[in-house]
C-alpha cells in the first residue's frame, strides 16, 4: 500500500499521532525541498518546514480526502513559503547595513571561477519559476510530474521552465568553463 494511502487510513481511523509519525518522514524531504526552492535558504527552509508540519498537525482534522494528501501538503507548504518570502522581503531593506556590506563584498569579489558559487549565482539569477523547477528537479531526482504537483503547475509548463533553465545554466556553465580555460 502506498505511504499516502496508509497515512489517510490512519487519519480516518482517528489514529492521528501514528499517521503523523509516518507523515513527517514521508514528506520531510518534499516539504523541505519545496520550501528551499522558494526561499533559497537552507536554514529558513528548515524553519519553515517545521512550521508547515505544525500547521499540518493542526489542520489534519480538516483534511477531507477530496484532494490527494500530497497535493494538500504541497499547497500548505507553498502558501507558507510565499508568505514567509513576503515577510522577509518587507523586513530586509537595502539600507540595512548588513545587506550593504554583503552587496559591497559581492561587488568587490573577483569574477567567480567554475565553482559552486558561480553556479549558485546563475541559479539565483534565473526567473523565479525556472529556479524553483530546476531546484526541485535536481534535488532528489524528482520527475517532471512530481515537480509539477509540488509547484501546482501543469507538467508542460514545468517542462518549459526546466528546458529554459537548463539551457540558460548550460550556456553559463560553458561560458565559465571557457573563462577558466
Amino acid at each position: 500500500m502506498p505511504a499516502d494511502e496508509a497515512i489517510i487510513l490512519l487519519i480516518q481511523a482517528g489514529r492521528a499521532q501514528e499517521a503523523f509519525e509516518r507523515l513527517v518522514p514521508a514528506f520531510r524531504r518534499r516539504v523541505f525541498g519545496l520550501a528551499y526552492s522558494i526561499l533559497r535558504d537552507r536554514g529558513a527552509a528548515e524553519d519553515l518546514a517545521q512550521e508547515v508540519f505544525v500547521k499540518l498537525w493542526q489542520a489534519l482534522p480538516r483534511y477531507d480526502g477530496r484532494a490527494q494528501l500530497s497535493t494538500w501538503i504541497y499547497a500548505i507548504t507553498r502558501n507558507a513559503a510565499i508568505s514567509a518570502l513576503r515577510r522577509r522581503r518587507r523586513s530586509v531593506s537595502l539600507s540595512d547595513p548588513s545587506v550593504l556590506e554583503e552587496a559591497e563584498a559581492a561587488f568587490a569579489a573577483p569574477a567567480p571561477a567554475m565553482d559552486d558559487t558561480a553556479l549558485r549565482r546563475h541559479i539565483e539569477a534565473l526567473p523565479e519559476k525556472q529556479r524553483q523547477a530546476v531546484t526541485l528537479y535536481y534535488l532528489d531526482e524528482r520527475s517532471v510530474d512530481e515537480v509539477a504537483a509540488m509547484l501546482g503547475l501543469p507538467a508542460n509548463t514545468v517542462k518549459t521552465h526546466l528546458h529554459r533553465a537548463r539551457a540558460s545554466l548550460a550556456k553559463a556553465l560553458g561560458a565559465i568553463g571557457k573563462e577558466v580555460a
Binding site: 492521528a16 517545521q50 493542526q58 489534519l60 553556479l119 535536481y138
Partner: protein, 128 residues
C-alpha cells in the same frame, strides 16, 4: 544528451546533494507537536458527525422558516380574498370568469404561484 547537458546534470546534483534538513528534524517536529498541549480533534468520523448535526439543525431551522413564510403568504391571500369577496363574487356572477381566456387565466395563476414560491425556492439549502 550532449556532453554539456551531462556535465550540467552532474554539477546540479552535486550542488544540491548536501541540501537537507538537520538529522534531528523529525524529532524536533514531534517535540513541537507534543508541546502544543491539546491535541486537535483528530477523529474525522466525529468531525463528520458534528458537521452533519450542524447541517441537520440548519435544515430544521430553514424548514420552520419556510413553514412560517408559507402560512404568512396563505393568510395574506385569504385576507385579500375575504376583503374583496363581494367584488369577486360580482365579477364571477357577471360572467367575467367565463369570458376570460383559459390560457390567460392559467398563465396568471402560474405567475402568481411562481412569484409566491420564488422566495422559498431561493432559500432551499444547498445539497450536502
Amino acid at each position: 544528451m550532449s556532453e554539456q547537458d551531462g556535465r550540467l546534470d552532474a554539477r546540479m546534483r552535486a550542488l544540491l546533494a548536501g541540501v537537507d534538513t538537520g538529522r534531528d528534524f523529525d524529532a524536533r517536529v514531534m517535540q513541537r507537536i507534543a508541546a502544543l498541549g491539546s491535541l486537535p480533534a483528530v477523529d474525522l468520523r466525529a468531525q463528520f458527525e458534528r458537521r452533519r448535526d450542524v447541517a441537520r439543525r440548519r435544515l430544521v431551522r430553514e424548514a420552520w422558516s419556510n413553514a412560517v413564510t408559507i402560512t404568512g403568504i396563505g393568510a395574506a391571500a385569504g385576507v385579500l380574498v375575504w376583503r374583496h369577496a363581494p367584488a369577486i363574487m360580482q365579477w364571477a356572477r357577471s360572467g367575467g370568469a367565463t369570458e376570460i381566456d383559459p390560457w390567460l387565466l392559467t398563465a396568471i395563476v402560474a405567475v402568481a404561484l411562481a412569484g409566491g414560491l420564488w422566495p422559498l425556492l431561493r432559500r432551499l439549502p444547498a445539497p450536502l
